[in-house]
Symmetry: C2
Subunit: 273 residues, 2 copies
């Protein structure tokens, strides 16, 4: 069954323990433990040398294992990167949800049951503050983890396309949902206005295109607005993290980011003047 297991996990990029194996045995616990250690070591490596520099043999040395031994847990280097990408999106999603006020501590191990941040319908003025908070969290996580940011948003792995139902896009969807929540809340109470920024209504995407990602039955006009806001945040952060304006505009990155975020709040009708 080992080969079939590996073939199944090829889509996810990591060989998880099979379901029929008792997940409670001492064996299974040890396997989970080394799988977590493996990802931790690989993440440390990525933090030090970047995604392109990750070497399986180096990870194996860190763990005191043989290079071949890693292949009991990983089906290829790209598979390991894929697992790290999924974890990275989950980590970013954790920070965004924490900033949204989910309360509690951010889970430090990656065995997460998706805390399901509740939707806040009331408190109109609060929605701007929530979008501010999630935007600033997006930036702070990114500048604090530049190599992971590059892993998530930099050059995609050549020739690799994430399976639509894989853990990568599931984790990215969770992050996108956290990013979108303030906008969805604002739209729910009718405070989101798209006419300022989308004068041409033809920009609206196909209705229901984003449904599976966020919530069913959302206003199809909120999708473009979300993408627009995300693009604005992401542009500033991307330029900053990859160091392009750093040699050109040393210390004003955060202030500039705040200013653009504030203007975006205005453009979306979430602040009064």
């Amino acid at each position: 069954m080992s080969s079939a297991d590996t073939a199944d996990a090829a889509a996810t990029g990591a060989t998880e323990p099979t379901a029929d194996t008792a997940s409670t045995g001492r064996r299974a616990r040890a396997r989970r433990r080394t799988w977590i250690d493996l990802k931790a070591a690989a993440l440390e490596e990525v933090r030090e040398v970047g995604p392109a520099g990750l070497a399986l043999r180096s990870v194996a040395r860190r763990l005191g294992m043989s290079p071949a031994g890693l292949y009991r847990y990983v089906d290829s280097r790209d598979g390991l990167l894929t697992a790290l990408i999924a974890d990275g999106f989950h980590d970013l999603a954790d920070h965004l949800e924490f900033a949204l006020g989910a309360g509690g501590e951010v889970a430090t191990d990656r065995e997460r049951p998706a805390p399901e941040v509740p939707m806040r319908a009331g408190a109109d003025a609060d929605v701007a503050e929530r979008l501010r908070a999630v935007g600033l969290a997006y930036r702070s996580w990114s500048v604090a983890h530049p190599n992971e940011f590059g892993l998530l948003f930099g050059d995609p792995i050549p020739g690799y396309a994430a399976p639509a139902d894989g853990p990568t896009v599931e984790a990215m969807t969770r992050m996108g949902a956290a990013l979108a929540r303030p906008l969805l809340e604002a739209a729910a109470v009718g405070r989101l206005r798209g006419d300022r920024v989308l004068s041409d209504p033809s920009v609206a995407g196909p209705p229901g295109a984003m449904d599976p990602l966020l919530a069913p039955g959302i206003d199809p006009a909120v999708g473009p607005l979300l993408l627009l806001a995300w693009g604005r945040l992401h542009g500033q952060v991307s330029l900053e993290v990859f160091g392009h304006p750093h040699w050109l505009f040393p210390d004003g990155c955060e202030a500039l980011f705040r200013a653009d975020l504030e203007r975006t709040l205005h453009d979306l009708g979430l602040v009064t003047p």
Copy 2:
């Protein structure tokens, strides 16, 4: 002198012909020719497999050369990538300057003397159209050359920092200048307003920080505005090129980009209402 030549060129990453060598000999012409062919082959490789997948041996096979032979022209793989980055920025700058109305055809070989687009002071209403044009050119070049976009703006080469006076930042400066020109023109005629987007004037960077990049004596307030506008363009393009919203918002990318660009024109005071 060959070793000294290589050591000198280590900063630039490519072994250009020395100046004392007669640049007119048949030898020198052959060398320039193979150097151009080498970069063309490497660029083709980058277009196919991405920056991370570029292999010197594969480039050598393309040229019918030995892998070791390449080292007469290149001092390392990262050096070749650096040369390609510089060329990429020049190519992007060409497209931006062409969109700015420099007229004429875009030079196809990389032996360029920086055509020096003239500054247009008059024609107030024209400045919005020029910023529109350069923004759309930024996007069209990027989506047409996704792997080169990743080369220029994706994960930086691990452990590599471009020398401040190297050809890389010179080429990037040229691109930045083209991107900035409409804003500088608008500022010159007093049509650029920063109060809408920068309510807090403390965002202004250190005066003169961007002087060497653009033109001496520019208004220090235009720097943050330029970076803000660039960030907005770049965010949309980066998300689109790296495929993040593609599976989520299939065909509206260009329309959304235009809408955000239009709103940016409004935020900068370049369109009337």
